[in-house]
Subunit: 454 residues, 2 copies
Amino acid sequence: MTPTEALASWVADSDYDAIPTDVRREAKRALLNYLGCALGGSIEPALDTAVRVLAPYSGPKTAQLLGRAEVFDPLHAALLNGIGSHVHEYDDTLPKNYIHPSPPVASALFAYAAANPVDGRRFVEAFVLGFETESRVGNAVYPAHYDAGWHITSTAGVFGAAAAVGRLLGLTSRQMVWAFGLAATQAAGIREMFGSMAKSFQPGRAAQNGYTSALLAQADFTAGERALEGPRGFAAVTAQRYDLDKITDGLGEEFDLRVNAYKPYACGLVVHPTIDGCSRIRERHRPAPESIEAVRLRVAPLVLDLCNHKTLNRALQSKYSIYHAAAIGLARGKGGLREFTDEAVRDPVLARLRSLTTATPDPAVTEDQVHIEVQLSSGEVLELFVEESLGNLRRPLSDEQLEEKFRDQAVLALPADVVERVIDQCRRIDELDDVGELVRATAPSTGGAAAGAA
Amino acid sequence: MTPTEALASWVADSDYDAIPTDVRREAKRALLNYLGCALGGSIEPALDTAVRVLAPYSGPKTAQLLGRAEVFDPLHAALLNGIGSHVHEYDDTLPKNYIHPSPPVASALFAYAAANPVDGRRFVEAFVLGFETESRVGNAVYPAHYDAGWHITSTAGVFGAAAAVGRLLGLTSRQMVWAFGLAATQAAGIREMFGSMAKSFQPGRAAQNGYTSALLAQADFTAGERALEGPRGFAAVTAQRYDLDKITDGLGEEFDLRVNAYKPYACGLVVHPTIDGCSRIRERHRPAPESIEAVRLRVAPLVLDLCNHKTLNRALQSKYSIYHAAAIGLARGKGGLREFTDEAVRDPVLARLRSLTTATPDPAVTEDQVHIEVQLSSGEVLELFVEESLGNLRRPLSDEQLEEKFRDQAVLALPADVVERVIDQCRRIDELDDVGELVRATAPSTGGAAAGAA
């Protein structure tokens, strides 16, 4: 069997019980994290604009959007869920291939489940298969593909979405090969779009295109059968070097969900150790912000290359300010979406803390570390060395921390009591009779009632 | 100005009267050729399948499909028009960059015009601007981009569709830059799909994605502003070598519509000289097929590498048979869609002519040439040397030949009297008050009435 056929057969013929328990558990954590991001992004201008532009083109309105009142056809819902879930770049990351894996796959799946009855077991299974497909396609072409300028989240993501929806549609392995062909010929998205609305459009379009690929393949719309390995296939065309063995090695035994990482803070990764360390100092010593006289950081040199913004004019800059990172850690003990808003930038407590913070580059400090000294008016100096930052694969977020991250975002879209009911449904998503209930529970106007009826 | 900005400004600010008369005339010929192909492809299984699969996802039905009874939303109509117009690969070709230029651009435009009032002048102008955008983007990356395995018709086509629809939407030049960014990040389609239904899907998807790009940009959905020239932009990511000067050199003065070629025959290019020459022998000498005792061809060696099928089992093989080419030229004097069907393959007259045809490779004969000897039972030998084949840029199809090609395809979808009315509307498309009339005239069930009312 070719790599394309082997992957297609595995997705088409896999068995729920063959998915290891720890992988299913991690799938549920990834889905909770995904859904929180989709709710946190549900009120962003990029999504508002896309909803407004595309509404006149929606088919019959069967698919509730995540965290919004609008209902679209499921193909559009896949696109729009994808924009919302990636817009804050607070979604999950696979450090091994830089893919943000959940948005393309889960955006398609929640759109499908919003319009079609799917029980929780089948949903989780489809997510695991789609996630693994996407990551393995990415592994085969990483790093050359990413280095060339491809946004690997969307180019690999379209395969994951095709696999996930194709699995729910019950594609044969031959049809799955065609779905992968149709995905390959729609694989797109370039890094030149980073920093614009087009960036979050990309995982959304991957979700929508993968979904469409599965629908067409189900009707025997044919495609080239060597999507991945052909001489003009995905790998050869988009990567100078690639290793197709990574598609099939350990397939069904090794799962990249086990090496998936969740961002604890809604900002640039290199300032994460500082927020983490300052939050821990706050938790242990509870220094009053006004008692702090100086904050001295020793950081990896790259941190100052990327995040040396001390005077902040726009909310976006705060995501790349090592000074703001120290300030929010010490004053608020967290780095959620609300710590990087215009309100946060203007907060006088945070502004004072930023101004008295200094950062020194130290080549001995890694990008995952920081040395912190906080000098208080009492003369006391609080010291902390962060050896590995929270969110790192060796220091994953606990279930409670993931739920707290979810809450922090979801309250932007939903009343607090609905948020708790949605968290509860997520915890037992594999036991739900119909995942559509969960989707409809995230709709602001009807969420309370729908969740109550569920 | 960057190449992206220069192209965007030209498209946004161009003036109809600045388009040279010969270019406008060629645009009308390209549109007639396109529309004939769309009608000829309107009953193909790939299109039937896509229509059936996507119908449940269509938005409000405002856009009549070309040559079919169904009405879809215009974004889906762009996709479906694109599939139908490319499915027979009988569409136009730019020899300089291998793009089939009209399907991505015209499929989007006819979908737009089906749902929105557009007069003929604006329509032709948008077509010229979209066509030129597409071809210039292709020129910049050809041949490295094509050699790498990209289906340049769809990857460059999405820019053309964005430009054409963006022009009709009245985008500012800044919005046009965003439309190009959104196009760049959806540019996709690989040659591995050739020979499957996915191939004709690609120009359709390019039309739909370009159209969507223009709609989003109109609402200020932002994108990276260096779509073409950025370090992670379209050219750098998809071509090892490229020349961005080709985007802007002679912009507004040189038009690639002037070097657009129309296939006279619905089959592989290398057998065209043989059909052409045999058709001319038939026209001049009118030999009765049963009087033919032998046909001897001397052809370019490549012809026998590609088209040495003498015994035909499937209709598709007949498109790549030098023997069938001689037979249809001598017996029917043409090579339209109906010369490459199962019926044609089974026709005993054609079968006999194929069996008595021989072909000898001759390195002195180019792929655009053929030497033909037809030996009759009377002992007479009819000889002809084709020096340049019909459809070649130096021997373009006449307006009458283009209309005959149109008729030959259109009668598969429409009654003969409607076909003539549609041809008449195409001839004066730049004078129409509403191009939607023309689109609706191509609908089989209502075509007669709509055309009559027009």
